[in-house]
Subunit: 314 residues, 2 copies
């Protein structure tokens, strides 16, 4: 399998740079003291649409041919990828069709509409989502942009670790959360190609531990049931990201929901960052395995900050 | 009256730089759209101790003579200045004595103790605070570092606008909140000396509008009663800051508590920033006077992020 190369990733970065934020890397001596190591937080909660997803979606849209562009893009998502794709399409001046389950939170629908995306509702089952998406693509001729199982998206997500290592090259470990695996695979590719001595470690919720189990087993073992506050990480890891993860990720560490809420609270209180539960998972996994990181220099990607303030877990 | 000069401010910046964060300047296209202007947020909520107060306290402590240092520093405060002074003293390796009212929030006391400050409790009246402070100073020989009515502190707070204008020189307006006036006076001095064409505008809560009234009257008119969620801005403006404000501030705009809460919510939701109510006051004042800022480039100092997550107003 041909993975994206460093020059693919650099080209993606150049392509999307005008349309994304170069997010800051922040530190906190209070958190370093708690964690017993030095942590550099790459704040993708400050990214456009409030999450790293803006990167992959922008890269995929900008790589389309003029003919593809004229017919727009489509996806199914109830999360950050939906808003990210609608925004990328809007920036490129092309239509977007977003298939969303009828029970998706109003705030997510509002974000998509705010970027001019057309929402197509469906029953809240995976099968209904896929069928509805096929209908939309057949009707409009739009190009399907998957949320993670797609190299153009992985390439885009990889630009985040590229910026992190430009800002802070001397790291021992880089951590990212894993859901579908787009961010983790991109991170692993960027880090491995820039400096193979840096370990790449994922954080995953125990309540959606498919990547952890798949990584041990050497084959994808889907989630049968998920139960976690980290609602951005419910999907089973994708085929392409998993191939990268098997090759370039050093380990996947789990965090329980109480650990995730604690990490989220630490990020709010000590770093004054609004972080969604999924974005706090790597710090939670680090704090749950504190001896493993003692004295090291860790880069952590805070993946997003889209949280409903009325439903904070504290 | 001799105000601190630009070279005083630059010297203060050099003095305190090793002990403070150069906080980032962040933007949000969503907020720019809401506000109809371009806003550059200087994020002092990311500052050490979670507020700009770290700057003034560090400058005041570092300017002490060796003999003064040996006896430590003292102040009365139940807010960010308490933690800032305790931390500055701890960094300098000297004792600090913080007079706090007995009803001060436990979280504030914990912060002071965490930096090794010695808390001296008193009755929750201004008179008890002053008497207790005098006793502490008499007993220990510590130097009193006032929270705002003191040039060394004003000089330190001025370094925040210095950094803002280094990062973003081409501004039309710089905004800061006003309580005791240390930050506003420092901001006005830095901005006026670097570029007198830039307007300096303060935001103040209607429920503690002494600076607004004093500015109109040309003399300090203390608050008789205060009633606002912006608990960092309850004090009456100090004599030294007021002299600077009269000369170099262009106007003071008011914001009601509902406007402050709205602005705070916008900063949480759109910028993913944890901001205390006082830190949201300038944005609230801007949004309450939106036509005045139309199309302009505004720097806003977000003064702090120390908010009790259990008591968020949304």
């Amino acid at each position: 399998m041909n993975f994206p190369t460093l020059s693919n990733i650099r080209a993606a970065h150049e392509r999307i740079q005008p349309f994304i934020h170069r997010t800051p890397v922040l530190t906190s001596s209070a958190i370093n003291e708690i964690a017993g190591c030095k942590i550099f937080f790459k704040c993708e909660n400050f990214q456009k649409v409030g999450a790293f997803k803006a990167r992959g979606a922008a890269n995929a849209v900008l790589k389309l041919s003029p003919e593809q562009k004229s017919k727009g893009v489509a996806t199914h998502s109830s999360g950050n990828h939906a808003a990210a794709l609608a925004r990328a399409a809007s920036v490129a001046g092309i239509p977007s069709y977003i298939v969303m389950p009828s029970n998706a939170p109003e705030i997510k629908k509002k974000a998509v509409r705010g970027y001019g995306g057309e929402i197509v509702e469906c029953e809240p089952t995976l099968q209904a989502r896929e069928t509805t998406l096929q209908e939309v693509v057949a009707r409009t001729g739009a190009t399907f942009i998957p949320p993670f199982d797609f190299w153009d998206v992985v390439e885009g997500q990889a630009t985040c670790a590229l910026e992190l290592l430009e800002a802070q090259p001397d790291l021992d470990v880089v951590m990212a959360p894993v859901g579908g695996g787009g961010l983790l695979a991109g991170t692993a590719l960027a880090v491995h190609n820039l400096n193979p001595k840096i370990e790449v470690i994922a954080g995953e919720p125990t309540g959606a531990d498919d990547a952890f189990r798949s990584f041990q087993a050497g084959e994808i073992l889907p989630n049968e049931k998920t139960q976690t506050i980290a609602d951005g990480l419910l999907t089973t890891v994708g085929r392409l990201p998993f191939a990268v993860i098997q090759e370039h990720v050093d380990s996947i560490l789990l965090a329980t929901d109480p650990q995730i809420v604690d990490a989220m609270r630490i990020l709010f209180e000590r770093m004054k960052l609004v972080v969604e539960p999924s974005g706090a998972v790597p710090l939670a996994a680090l704090l749950a395995n504190i001896e493993r990181f003692a004295g090291k220099r860790i880069g952590i990607i805070i993946s997003g900050g889209n949280v409903d303030l009325g439903k904070l877990p504290f």
